[in-house]
């Protein structure tokens, strides 16, 4: 048995050296811009409500009444927003985050997320800064911007806003059998078309921001009406077809946030997943007043993978989940 135990790192020592350089470069980038580095809990009292993101539970000893249980954080978002509400000003964090069940060439259940928030920035302002950071490090051309709707029309041949459910299902038949599609929601269909048709095509267009997501995929972004359609102020950056970051012009309205938590939990129920209690401390910080801001989370492991022209995260993570 000992023959088959792989104790060595899966990433080369040269890649690990680049990893250290990348981290130093990122810190330099934010130091120059007076964005403060912060650290927030990896183990928190609440998990995420998002139906498609599973938190890993931990069972720490209770530290006091009403503070039992714990979750490894899937992103430092709630905690960082509490710092913003407390008046931190612009902040960034290099966080270790955890997402249960995500493992593959471009996924590891534990990964490094660079997350930052910019009070006073709109989504467009923050996209310019993301471009400076990513292109400054990768040496790539600045990203173009493409609407989610246009990307679907062009690469999946369907309108994600206006197509009927049955039209979307028909487009999905290329990948899944009718019996499988019977249990797919409209959101599942859009995600299937995104990963099956749109993302592979994005690999060919160079760095590209996708913006204007359907309201159902707003997550924690504010929504406004554009071209007669309700669109979320959410953006994602794709470089060589690799999804690198996800950003929002942040929702600051506590009542709307509560409604979204409730909607998330309804979706979790119908998907047969356990409900996740809303983080009351986060909601209270919104009540107290979080400044108008934009925020973004960027996968550092994937960024390094692109920098080193590798196609598997195992080349940039010393010990991925299968040998951790």
């Amino acid at each position: 048995m000992t023959d088959s135990v792989q104790w060595q790192p899966s990433a080369s020592l040269a890649a690990l050296k680049s990893r250290a350089q990348q981290l130093a470069w990122v810190r330099g980038f934010f130091a120059q811009r007076d964005v403060m580095e912060v650290e927030t809990p990896v183990l928190g009292q609440h998990g995420v409500t998002d139906v498609n993101i599973d938190s890993i539970s931990a069972n720490p000893a209770p530290v006091g009444p009403g503070a039992a249980g714990g979750w490894l954080q899937t992103s430092p978002e709630y905690h960082m927003k509490r710092l913003l509400a407390a008046g931190s000003g612009p902040i960034y964090q290099v966080a270790r985050v955890f997402r249960d069940g995500e493992f593959g060439r471009r996924h590891n259940p534990e990964f490094s997320l660079l997350e930052w928030y910019r009070p006073g920035f709109t989504d467009t302002d923050l996209m310019a800064e993301v471009s400076d950071l990513v292109c400054g490090w990768l040496g790539c051309e600045p990203p173009i911007t493409m609407r989610y709707r246009d990307a679907f029309l062009r690469f999946a041949g369907v309108d994600p806003f206006l197509a009927s459910d049955s039209q979307l299902l028909k487009c999905c038949q290329q990948w899944m059998q009718p019996a499988q599609l019977q249990v797919c929601t409209r959101g599942d269909c859009l995600d299937l078309l995104m990963s099956g048709a749109v993302e592979p095509a994005l690999a060919e267009v160079g760095p590209v921001f996708i913006t204007g997501y359907p309201e159902s995929q707003a997550a924690l972004a504010r929504v406004s009406e554009r071209d007669g359609l309700r669109q979320a102020h959410r953006f994602e950056l794709y470089v060589e077809g690799v999804e690198l970051c996800n950003g929002y012009w942040e929702l600051t309205d506590p009542d709307e946030q509560k409604r979204r938590f409730a909607a998330d939990n309804r979706a979790r129920r119908s998907a047969g997943k356990p409900e996740m209690p809303a983080d009351q401390a986060f909601l209270a910080s919104l009540e107290a007043g979080m400044p108008d801001c934009s925020g973004v989370a960027l996968g550092l492991d994937r960024l390094l993978m692109l920098k080193l022209e590798l196609d598997n995260l195992s080349g940039v993570i010393a010990f991925p989940a299968d040998r951790s």
């Binding site: 998002d50 498609n52 993101i53 069940g101 995500e102 493992f103 593959g104 060439r105 471009r106 996924h107 990948w175 899944m176 059998q177 499988q180 249990v183 797919c184 959101g187 599942d188 859009l190 995600d191 299937l192 995104m194 990963s195 099956g196 993302e199 995929q217 997550a219 994602e236 999804e243 996800n246």
Partner: protein
């Protein structure tokens, strides 16, 4: 029968898809942003040998296929079936038809051991060992000496297989052959 969830999918797993036994070749996890996760899976249908690509919602499962690999000794052919016997001392025999024997036919030597893949208890495929040792029954006359030149000639083996061999090989010699590539490896010292 047991079933496997997408997070258990891995190369080599045998599952039932559309009623046919399939072997999983590749399993890729894909997940857009905050979206639903999928597994893009490449499979080979063991009945037709055709490759399939299917997408599953992560968490879906497939029934396990009753497919097992057994070491068996090749006994003889009656013209319609090729008969194999388990090597576990049970003397249990299995007839494999021409479809199951397939390309293994040209490497079949009586009393040699092969991997017979059983599906619901009946032979589905026969796989020869990676290397077999077979006697040359026909080839052009040997040329002594000049082994460095690297020229080759065809040689017919006892099973009917024809392989390219170095010029110095003569009739009656036993050769080691790689069944995956169909290439000559070396001479086997006569015992």
């Amino acid at each position: 029968m047991a079933s496997y969830s997408t997070n258990e999918f891995r190369g080599g797993l045998k599952v039932l898809l559309d009623g046919d036994p399939c072997i999983i070749l590749e399993n890729e996890f894909v997940k857009p942003g905050k979206g639903q996760a999928f597994n893009r899976v490449k499979l080979r249908n063991l009945m037709t040998n055709r490759q399939w690509e299917r997408t599953f919602k992560s968490g879906e499962s497939l029934e396990a296929a009753d497919v097992i690999d057994q070491e068996m000794e090749y006994l003889y052919t009656d013209g319609e079936f090729w008969h194999f016997m388990k090597t576990d001392g049970s003397f249990e025999q299995f007839p494999a038809d021409a479809k199951a024997v397939g390309d293994a036919l040209k490497w079949l030597k009586e009393q040699d051991v092969y991997t017979v893949t059983l599906y619901n208890g009946a032979p589905l495929t026969v796989t020869p060992p990676n290397f077999v040792e077979l006697e040359v029954v026909d080839t052009d006359p040997g040329m002594k000496g000049d082994t460095a030149q690297g020229g080759t000639k065809p040689a017919t083996l006892s099973t009917g297989a024809v392989v390219n061999v170095p010029l110095f090989i003569t009739i009656g010699e036993v050769l080691k052959v790689d069944t995956r590539s169909g290439e000559y490896v070396s001479r086997v010292k006569s015992s």
